[in-house]
Amino acid sequence: MSEPDWGLRESHTFDRNAIAYIRRAASTGLYRIRGFGAKRHIPNFDDLLLKGASMSRYPLEGYREKCRTSVALGTRFASKPIELAIPITIAGMSFGSLSANAKEALGRGASAAGTSTTTGDGGMTNEERRHSKTLVYQYLPSRYGMNPDDLRRADAIEVVVGQGAKPGGGGMLLGEKISKRVAEMRTLPEGIDQRSACRHPDWTGPDDLAIKILELREITNWEKPVYIKCGAARPYYDTALSVKAGADVVVIDGMQGGTAATQDVFIEHVGQPTLVAVKEAVQALIDLDMHRKVQLIVGGGIRSGADVAKALAMGADAVSIGTAALIALGDQDPAYQTEYEQLGSAAGYWEDYQSGTDPAGITTQDEQLSNRLAPEMAGKKLANYLRVLTLEVQTIARACGKSHVHNLEADDMVALTVEAAAMSGIPLAGTNWVPGT
C-alpha cells in the first residue's frame, strides 16, 4: 500500500468548490448569479425503479398493443381544455433569457410532438405564437408585455407564483441581455438589469388570487385553462391552496428546475427535491378529492422517459421540461468546445446563461450568436427528443401492463435508497418500509 500524498489531501469541508467560492466572493464582493440549475447531488428519480410485470401482472405486447399517452389539461372549469398528445410539456422560458430563434424552435419542436410550450417573463412574441400549436401564456409578477389580446390568443394561462430554482425569489435579466427589442417589450431602458418582483402587484395570498383568476376568466370568456405554478417550497399546502384559489392545473417545480439567472446560493440551497414535490402535491389532491380532476404537472430535473414514467406513476398527469429542452436544441454542444473553453467553461458544464455569451446561440440576445441556431433544425431535434421520451414511457408502461401511461401507479415502483423512499413515499426495495410514515 502506497503512502498517501499528504501534500494533496483534499478537505471534504473546504473542497475545491468551497475554496473557489470563497476566493470569488472575496474578490468581487458580490454573490454569483448564474443559470442552469442545481448542481449538487439530490435524491431523484434515478433512486426509484419500476418493477415491470411477471406472474402477478400481464405486460402488453411492446409493438402491437396500444399504450396511449394523451392528456387533457384544464377540465375543471375551462370550456376549452387543452388536449396534448403526450404528457410532456415545455416549461416557461422568456424571450429575453432566450433568443427569438430559440423560442421559435421550442414552439416548432413542441408542436411537432403534439405538446404545448410556454411563454415567459417578457411577454409573447409573434414568432412563438405562430409556431406553437398550443401556447401557455404566463402571468407573472412583472407583467412585462402583458396585454388582453395576447391573453385571448393564448391556449391557457399560467399564473406564476414561483419556480423550482428559486421559490420565493423574483426574476432577473441582466443588462447584457437587454436588447432594443427586449427592452421595448418590457417597457424599460436598454442595458439595465431588469428585476422581476417576487410577488404579484395586485394580489396577495390565495383569497386574492381566487378573485384574480376570476378576472382572468371573465376577460377570456371562461375558455382558457388556468394553471398555477409554484416552486416546491411547501408542496402540500401550495397545491391545496392553488386548488382553493381555483386552478384548473397545478404546476409544481422541484429544486432541480433550471433558471436563466439566479443567485447560486438560491439555486443550490432553497426549495425541495422534485421527488418530495410530486409526493406532497399528489397527496394534497387526493385529500381534497381533486386528483385527476385538477391536473398536476411536475417539473424539475426531468431528463428521460424513465423520469417521466416515474413522475406519472407517482400520480402526476404530465411533466414539464426546460433545461432538457434547451440541451435538445443544442445547448452544451461539444461542437462549440473551443468557445466554451474561451469562456472558462466546457461543453457539458456551461452555466452562464445570464451572460448572453452562449456559444450555442440559445440563451443570448446577441444577433451573431443567436443566428447560429436554426429554428427549424433545432425544433426537429426537440421533437425527436420528445418522441424518444414518449417511446420510453410507453415501453415502461407496457412492461407494467398499462394501456395508458396514466395507469402507471406507485405500486409499480420501489425505492433504491432510504432517502428516496422517505421523500417519494415509495417503499424501500425488498421491504414495505416508507420512512416517516
Binding site: R143, M146, N147, P201
Partner: protein
C-alpha cells in the same frame, strides 16, 4: 344620483344579471364612440366588473365595485360612481377610468396606457409597476405608491405616504402636498416647462381647475440602482 348617462343609456342591472352575463353584455358591445352609454346598476361590490372591455363605449357603474374593476381596459370610458376595490384599472391599455370615490390598493397596477382619475384617496401601491398609463389622484396616496413604476405618470393632489416611488424606473410622480418619505432610488427633480405642460394637460384631462402646475414637486429615478453593483448593497 344624477348621472351623465342620461335617459337613453342601456341598462345592465346586476340585481337581475350575473357577473358573467353583465360582462358578456359589456364585452360584446362594439361601440364606435364613447357616446355609446351603458349604465350598470346594483354593482354591490361585484369583483371583476367591466373588465376586458375592448371598444370605445361609456360605462357608468352606479355604486361601489370590488376587485379589478375595468381590468385590462382598452378604449372604454368607465366611470365608477362610488368606491373601487383592489386593482381598479389594473393593466389598463387605453381609455379612461374615473372613480368618484376612493380606491383600494394597487390602483392601475402595471397599466400600459389610458388615464385613471380618482376623486378621493388611493390606498397603498397606487401605480405599482406602472408601464405607461397616467393616474391623477385628487386626494392622498398610500405607502409604496409607484413601486417599480417603469413608465407613465402619477399626479397626487394631496399627500403621499412613505416610500413613494421605491425602485422607480422612468416614470414620473408629481405631488402637490407632503411626501412622508421617498423610497429607494427615488429623488426630487427639477420641473422644466415640458413637465409643467404634461402636468397641466393631465390636470385638465382629469377635471381639475384652478390648480397651477407650479404648486407641484416632481419625483423620479436617480437611476443609481439600474445595475447590480457592490456599492448599492446597502439598499438591497
Amino acid at each position: 344620483m344624477t348621472t351623465a348617462a342620461g335617459d337613453n343609456a342601456r341598462i345592465v342591472d346586476l340585481a337581475k344579471l350575473s357577473r358573467r352575463e353583465a360582462n358578456t353584455v359589456l364585452q360584446s358591445y362594439n361601440g364606435t364612440s364613447n357616446s355609446t352609454l351603458i349604465r350598470v346598476l346594483n354593482p354591490a361590490g361585484t369583483h371583476a366588473l367591466a373588465c376586458g372591455l375592448d371598444a370605445p363605449l361609456a360605462v357608468e357603474i352606479d355604486g361601489h365595485t370590488g376587485y379589478y374593476c375595468a381590468g385590462m381596459n382598452k378604449h372604454a370610458n368607465v366611470a365608477v360612481l362610488g368606491n373601487a376595490g383592489q386593482g381598479v384599472a389594473e393593466n389598463m391599455m387605453s381609455g379612461r377610468v374615473h372613480v368618484h370615490g376612493n380606491v383600494s390598493q394597487s390602483a392601475a397596477a402595471t397599466a400600459h396606457g389610458g388615464l385613471l382619475v380618482v376623486e378621493g384617496n388611493a390606498a397603498a401601491r397606487c401605480g405599482i409597476s406602472l408601464k405607461g398609463a397616467d393616474i391623477v389622484v385628487k386626494g392622498n396616496v398610500g405607502h409604496m405608491s409607484m413601486f417599480m413604476a417603469q413608465a407613465g405618470c402619477l399626479v397626487i393632489l394631496g399627500d403621499a405616504d412613505e416610500a413613494l416611488g421605491d425602485s422607480i424606473y422612468e416614470a414620473a410622480i408629481y405631488v402637490r402636498g407632503r411626501v412622508k418619505s421617498l423610497g429607494a432610488d427615488c429623488v426630487e427633480k427639477e420641473i422644466a416647462d415640458r413637465h409643467c405642460d404634461q402636468l397641466a394637460s393631465l390636470l385638465e384631462a382629469s377635471g381639475c381647475s384652478g390648480i397651477d402646475a407650479s404648486e407641484f414637486r416632481r419625483f423620479g429615478s436617480a437611476r443609481e440602482l439600474y445595475n447590480f453593483k457592490q456599492e448599492n448593497i446597502g439598499v438591497y
